[in-house]
Symmetry: C2
Subunit: 158 residues, 2 copies
Amino acid sequence: MKTLFQYNWQVRDDWFSWCETVPEGDLLKSRGAGVGGILKTLFHIVAVEYSWICDITGRPDLDDDFEAHASLERVVSLSRTLHPVVGDFVLNWTDSRHQEKVTVYHPRTGQQETFREGEILDHIIAHEIHHIGQLSVWARELGREPVTANLIRRGIYN
Amino acid sequence: MKTLFQYNWQVRDDWFSWCETVPEGDLLKSRGAGVGGILKTLFHIVAVEYSWICDITGRPDLDDDFEAHASLERVVSLSRTLHPVVGDFVLNWTDSRHQEKVTVYHPRTGQQETFREGEILDHIIAHEIHHIGQLSVWARELGREPVTANLIRRGIYN
């Protein structure tokens, strides 16, 4: 499980580097799938990961939306600022917490939902990989090679 | 880890059902990213998953290419035929095998590479989720709602 998080963090950083080579207009351009654009997807990945960790740990969540971070520099900065909290939680997590219950309150609907910690962590992993798959299609639309999605040969395992 | 495989198998089946509602021409249409099309992606996911399990277990791999399976019915049939082998391996796998070495021979280059079983299983998981992310963009291009990528609320955890 931790390997898949490390994979995601490495791939995300590779996409941030990739973004440096692309005009910001292309990163901000509205696209008709997923959350609607390249940079918005990267912001969404960062915000959703952090939000779930806040749900588990009881931290206050971010109160920001994409408009406050609509530049590559700000999304990268947000990712790096939040990463120590996320990394510390994930890398210290143990399987014994798998079935721990987490109750999430949805302010808009007034409803509560209960999940398991293991389920949430698996969801965060799948969420990021899925959205990165969307970026790979948009990269080709821009005539560019996407970041490799291979987990093997990344040096995560030694 | 097993949950992420179960997630992938459930999402794949949801995409097979989704494909039934789409004209086969759209499924076969060549698209400029990933492996090049919707049905080809689903074939690729099935074939790559099986191929890695063959590498680990020493089974002979499939000797088929997409042209032999270029219909929804044949890709679904291939997935269902191979699934018992894959499912049996994955669901009986234990963490004690994580560091077991697997040597893979590449006939084209004559080279060998050595991986760990845990690394290969994580790679298979990420590989499928990544490609499914691409399908979600192509679904929107066809004006259709993609299959949900949510892992939570799928009933995988009880």
